[in-house]
Assembly symmetry: C2
Amino acid sequence: MSTDLCQCRIVHEQQVEKARRAALPPAELDRLSQFFKAFADPTRLKILQALHLEEMCVCDLAAFLGVSESAVSHQLRLLRQMALVTNRREGPVLYYRLADAHVSQLILLALDHIRE
Amino acid sequence: MSTDLCQCRIVHEQQVEKARRAALPPAELDRLSQFFKAFADPTRLKILQALHLEEMCVCDLAAFLGVSESAVSHQLRLLRQMALVTNRREGPVLYYRLADAHVSQLILLALDHIRE
DNA sequence: TTAGTATATGAGCAGTTGTGCAGATGATAC
DNA sequence: GTATCATCTGCACAACTGCTCATATACTAA
């Protein structure tokens, strides 16, 4: 039988306190996890990697990814809300591009890790 | 009426081809998104940030996070499988710590971004 | 205006994820 | 051996995600 609540007598109070003091504010933590979530899906990752090369329209991205334009549009909205991409209108066509250099940096750093 | 399939005549073939050539292999793409997924949850992010300071046992982490030890253990398994944390046994207690420096780097880079 | 094209959006649904519970495992002390 | 403590694991379930479909919006041309 176990309640799964912490009944340990060996909780290291100082370490827990230290962690508490260094912890990021909850709002920032949520934004941070939301930010990483943007990279945590193969489709979005492909979009970001493709846009690293040059701007592309929704249609191009759909063809590249092999999914519906609707699906791409949904993902682009999410990336827009996270300020990871911006767009530029040329007539009826919207061209998307990366919003800043952090994106590529982050992907490269992560690649370093998984390639060991 | 729309089928949601790409019927555009304005697909830029060269750009799509260019993106295709530069695309990461599917296996690597999956590993990469899995890797980012590890950071895409507030609980795991808090764990990683806490372990950045110093090693902690499951009990400590549960107290710090305010969740059950079971939940922490589940998340630690995931982080272990992603090679983001390792542990060290001291009697019945397991002390967890970050596996390498990439983790902190990545979090700092992401913080740079969301703080603009 | 109307028709046609490119993109956006809302609803609904299958698949995934994070958590708690109950029980199992591993280590230590007796 | 038994008892106890720290941690792990399988299961169930609510919450979330990413997709498709249908529809709406925005722009262009006639």
